[in-house]
């Protein structure tokens, strides 16, 4: 290679729901750096948060972890692997019920559903949230036999998207991202209805991130970029809310 310094690498582990937004963030970040994109080695791996958490505990080579909950990053800080000063809530996810039939009552849609795709509640925070919403809607018993469990939320969404499940409970971000793709590839594709399930959740889906020690400078630059207005707009456009307070955002 040339004369320049060795470029830092940044391997990001992200909960599957945040992947589409994170890819846009990476693109904008690299553009802003104004450098040859090939100088940057930013890779993104996605899975359910629980799986990534387990991999990081087993010393998987990630520098940054975007979880779909707050507890996994907190546990990583407690165990000494996560850098406490980088721990922050970066987004509040929206849980939505998607179906192909128009309807406003989530309870009715779940009752009429043949297959309800959700993420695995054992490893995916959105799976836990989906179960909580079904329970709060009072249809848990009749829904149990209809549940189809995706390995992570992207697979749950794909079960719906491929037409094999008629209903899914996923993160709004995936629906937003797929709508963008569908408009480009299949403009005729219609009949996708998403209902916000937030009113049926006791706790919002607060998503936290943490850097894994040691924090290299590229990781720090990326975290600083996350605080910019441009990055926040990408997150909001991607189907998330921002945390109410900025106390945890480093300035």
């Amino acid at each position: 290679m040339g004369s320049g310094a060795v470029a830092d690498t940044l391997s990001i582990a992200t909960a599957s729901n945040f992947r589409p937004v994170l890819e846009q963030l990476r693109e904008t970040f690299v553009e802003r750096q104004g450098q040859d994109p090939s100088m940057h080695q930013i890779t993104i791996s996605s899975a359910s948060s629980g799986v990534l958490y387990a991999q990081i505990l087993q010393h998987a080579p990630f520098q940054l972890f975007f979880s779909a909950n707050e507890s996994y990053p907190e546990k990583l800080v407690a165990s000494g692997r996560g850098a406490s000063e980088t721990l922050a809530t970066y987004a509040i996810g929206k849980l939505v019920l998607v179906s192909r039939s128009e309807g406003v009552n989530p309870k009715d849609i779940l009752s009429k559903a043949k297959r309800i795709a959700i993420a695995n509640p054992r490893t995916a925070p959105y799976g836990i949230a989906a179960m909580a919403a079904i329970e709060n809607l009072g249809v848990i018993e009749e829904s149990k036999s209809k549940l189809v469990i995706g390995n992570n939320i992207a697979q749950a969404w794909q079960f719906f998207h491929s037409g094999n499940a008629d209903v899914a409970i996923v993160a709004d971000a995936l629906v937003v991202s797929a709508r963008g793709l569908d408009e480009r590839e299949k403009p005729q594709r219609q009949g996708l209805f998403a209902i916000d399930l937030s009113p049926h959740l006791t706790h919002p889906v607060r998503q936290s991130r943490v850097a894994i020690k040691p924090v290299n400078s590229l990781t720090q630059q990326f975290l600083d970029f996350m605080n910019t207005a441009a990055a926040k707009k990408i997150i909001v456009d991607g189907g998330y809310l921002l945390p109410m307070t900025n106390k945890n955002l480093k300035q």
Partner: protein
Amino acid sequence: MSLLPSDITALWLTLQLAAVTTVILMVVGAPLAWWLSRSESRFASVIEATVALPLILPPTVIGFYLLMAFSPDNFLGGSWLALTGQSLAFTFSGLVVGSVIYSLPFVVQPLQSGFQHFDHKLLEAAETMGAGTLDRFLNLIIPLTRRAFATAALLGFAHTMGEFGVVLMIGGNIPGETQVLSIALYDHVEALDYGRAHWLAGGLLAFSFALLILLYGFNRNKGLKS
């Protein structure tokens, strides 16, 4: 710490899937292998290649195409839904379809190789003595190629027991319906439940090893010409 009910359910489901798949594959695979062992047409090598494809294709390729085919929007999934009122994805029937494709070469290839070594003069002799087709198949071909039949059945069964990637993509992880042992194991590992994972992993290892010892012991000791 011992096996929990959900693991017993997964074990039972896996045995059922392997048994159903093996029976279907023996019934479909035997005539197919016989034809392949006799045919000299160029078309036969295309069929032979098709049968062997699951050996080298990543299970994700099979899983992806099956998932697309199973969708009620498409012909296979739509027809199945119209006939049975059920979808193929996320059901035991769907897993059987996937397993039959996935384990096909493990049944057809040993049978084909057994049939190729079969002395066809015996068949002609039996025919001149008035034995019908079924009679010749049951009383001549099967007894003389029984090693090939046993190998095919054991390999088909064992390979289906170990199926993972295809089920992961088309199963939906439903206990008692599609959550087979390999999926239950994966689930335990991902949830960091290593205690339960060890039970399933160790059990599968011991079972597969025992099955192969049975297979090779059978082939070595019962040194019948086949």
